[in-house]
């Protein structure tokens, strides 16, 4: 494959510290060099683990050996979407790829870039084949996607992973969305951005993400991108009010027309329990939105950087860049 003109930025998300960093980055570096004359690799350490001496030493070796390398460590685990946001904020390339080290195969890069060129879409999202997922995950995902699509009205890129490629223009548009909690799988729909899928085989997960974390991500997603639960709460509150009003009429009728009024213990109990259940649900939904509103109103950064390191030869390539397309470079998109 001929080298492309332009500048490639690769965001390499580092979540699992058990995967050795050095061979992966060397592999990624050599692949990027084959694809583009000029490139940078931005390693985003998602801050999920403490960095121990061996890893720090490996990082130092990489920074001294390889050009065009940058390393950012988030101060704590702000979630994978925040890590992608950090990458998007810091990269300078014309074409931007994002992948998770150890999960998204580096070998997929050429095909991913090719699919962007051939589809002529500004954004291409990696998608994992359904049959590679466990039956329970597949079922849960299917329910979640259907729930989002049908009941919440949220369109999202289903089965999309962290692997993606986007051009600079579209990235700038994505970056202009200032939500505190960013979910790039939904952004293509929010921005009405045309995109294509890239099907590939994801490497097996070596460290399973906890169910609680996944639930948290799903809830974040729902409450961030849909206001329908609030509408439901409103409808239920109105219905409950109407029901209670009817119940008052019912009591009045009983008092007026019935000679002997029973004690009504069962009715009262059921009514009280139902009311409290519904009120609790309404409170939960309202509080979730209140929390989100408070969170947004703080205007805090999506993440904090605790370590920012650059390869000594970060700009070595840039100094040799020439804005010239030659037979070795690609002319057509």
């Amino acid at each position: 494959m001929a080298q492309s003109a332009g500048f490639l930025s690769v965001i390499a998300l580092r979540r699992n510290h058990q995967i050795p960093l050095e061979p992966l980055i060397h592999h990624l570096h050599s692949n990027a060099a084959k694809l583009f004359s000029y490139f940078e690799i931005l390693i985003i350490d998602c801050g999920e683990h403490t960095v121990f001496f061996e890893e720090q030493a490996a990082l130092e070796r990489l920074l001294s050996q390889l050009s065009s390398l940058r390393y950012l460590r988030l101060s704590k685990d702000f979630g994978v979407q925040a890590a992608i946001s950090a990458g998007f904020d810091y990269v300078i390339g014309d074409t931007i790829c994002c992948l998770e080290l150890g999960r998204d195969p580096v070998e997929a890069l050429p095909a991913l870039l090719h699919s962007q060129r051939s589809s002529l879409q500004p954004l291409v999202l990696g998608r994992v084949a359904k049959n590679t997922l466990s039956r329970s995950e597949r079922l849960l995902r299917m329910i979640f996607y259907r729930f989002c699509r049908s009941l919440l009205g949220i369109a999202m890129a289903e089965y999309a992973t962290t692997l993606m490629v986007v051009n600079r223009q579209s990235l700038n548009q994505l970056n202009s969305i200032k939500d505190t909690s960013r979910h790039y799988k939904a952004y293509a729909f929010i921005a009405g951005m045309p995109f294509a899928y890239f099907d590939y085989e994801r490497l097996p997960e070596q460290r399973r993400e906890s169910l609680l974390k996944k639930i948290d991500l799903a809830l974040n997603f729902i409450f961030n991108y849909s206001s329908r639960p609030l509408r439901w709460a409103s409808v239920v509150a109105l219905s409950l009010g109407a029901f209670n009003l009817l119940y008052v009429f019912y009591i009045a009728l009983i008092v007026l027309f019935k000679q002997k009024i029973s004690e009504g213990w069962v009715t009262l109990s059921v009514q009280g329990a139902l009311n409290f259940f519904v009120l609790s649900m309404l409170a939960a939904v309202a509080v979730e939105y209140l929390w989100r509103t408070v969170d947004e109103s703080r205007k805090r950064p999506h993440y904090f950087i605790s370590c920012d390191r650059k390869s000594e030869q970060l700009l070595s390539n840039l100094q040799h860049i020439r804005n010239v397309v030659t037979p070795q470079n690609r002319i057509s998109p």
């Binding site: 003109a5 332009g6 500048f7 000029y38 904020d89 300078i92 390339g93 014309d94 074409t95 002529l120 500004p122 051009n167 600079r168 223009q169 700038n172 548009q173 970056n175 202009s176 840039l318 860049i321 020439r322 804005n323 010239v324 397309v325 030659t326 037979p327 470079n329 690609r330 002319i331 057509s332 998109p333």
Partner: protein, 361 residues
């Protein structure tokens, strides 16, 4: 006849500068142009902006190279530089591909210096539509003076310049290349560089060589006398907006609008090239451009229209997608040893092309 070691076809800015460079390197060079003078077409009809990189937040390579070449260009063409005005970049609130924050970050990354525009400037802008405005380090060039400087450079480099000579086709003849002229003459050279910009494919087609995938636009550049209140150049970023820039050769301003400047566009096919520009409409859109521009800069409505310049602007297909403006340079084109083609882009990126040529000398 055996004319020279190098024959340069096309006397625009790139062709002339390459000829002067090769002449300085000690080669015998002949420069041919179909027009009566050098730099009369696209080298003259453009925004006359010396790019400092600010214009390309969506193509970091173009931005970095513009930034790198900026000082070199104004040093080499000092006499043609016009910098007696402030250059303002304003970021639109709606419809822009970048936000103010992103623009500032981009400038910091690429080393493009900028300061916030003074109230004297910002009060002229519609703040409902403009988010922020910055004064940047960018200037304009006088294409007329560039022509004079290039003439001097060509003369001192010993380059033979022949104008009013149109090359129709190029033919490989054993160890040399032969250029067939419309006048019936035939000129031989060891190497030929074709730098005819929008009509590159015309020569390639006539020479039975593969065509380049080029995109062309028929563009209008209206020239206006600015109102007294506007003494600065303004570019509204980044999307379907406009630039109002000094146009030094005619002592006025030019107005270009991303949406309305191109009147017609087409792409050269695998076997067909170009269209007859004589048949293209020259119905000005200056009023439409002014109508939109006044939303951002109300006082532009008082500008007096002088005339419009028309030209074919040529870019590579990829530039439509990523807003980049690379130079195309291909040597031994179509397996024709000694034949090179050049499609110039931003005038200040010339040095990138010269670096490639230098590698081959």
């Amino acid at each position: 006849m055996h004319a020279a070691e190098y024959l340069i076809v096309g006397g625009g800015f790139f062709g002339s500068a390459i000829a002067a460079y090769l002449g300085r390197c000690g080669y015998s060079v002949l420069l041919l142009d179909a027009a009566e003078n050098l730099c009369t077409r696209a080298s003259y009809v453009n925004q006359a902006r010396v790019h400092g990189g600010y214009h390309y937040p969506r193509s970091v390579v173009t931005a970095l190279r513009s930034q790198e070449n900026y000082l070199r260009f104004i040093r080499d063409f000092d006499a043609a530089i016009v910098d007696n005005f402030e250059k303002v970049y304003a970021i639109a609130k709606l419809g822009s591909f970048i936000t103010t924050e992103q623009f500032v970050n981009f400038c910091a990354l690429t080393g493009c210096r900028l300061v916030e525009a003074t109230p004297a400037i910002t009060r002229l802008l519609n703040r409902e539509l403009i988010d922020a405005a910055f004064v940047v380090e960018e200037c304009a060039f006088d294409a007329g003076k560039i022509r004079i400087l290039l003439r001097q450079q060509l003369h001192s480099a010993g380059v033979t310049v022949v104008t009013d000579k149109k090359v129709l086709r190029i033919q490989k003849k054993s160890s040399v290349l032969s250029a067939h002229l419309a006048s019936g003459e035939e000129i031989e050279a060891e190497r030929i560089i074709v730098a005819t910009y929008s009509s590159l494919n015309e020569i390639l087609c006539n020479s039975d060589l593969p065509l380049l995938p080029l995109c062309h636009e028929w563009v209008e550049l209206p020239l206006l006398a600015p109102p007294t209140s506007i003494a600065f150049g303004l570019t509204v970023m980044d999307g379907p907006f406009f630039s109002f820039m000094p146009f030094p050769p005619e002592q006025c301003y030019s107005l270009s609008h991303v949406s309305y400047t191109p009147h017609q566009s087409w792409q050269d096919g695998a076997s067909a090239w170009g269209i007859a520009t004589a048949n293209l409409s020259k119905q000005s859109r200056v009023q439409v451009m002014l109508q939109d521009s006044r939303r951002y800069l109300p006082s532009i409505a008082d500008a007096q229209y002088i005339k419009s310049l028309w030209e074919v602007k040529t870019i590579l297909p990829r530039s439509k997608h990523d807003d980049s403006r690379p130079i195309l340079y291909q040597n031994n084109y179509g397996d024709c040893a000694g034949l090179s083609v050049v499609l110039g882009a931003k005038i200040d990126n010339l040095y990138d092309c010269l670096d490639y040529i230098a590698q081959e000398l």
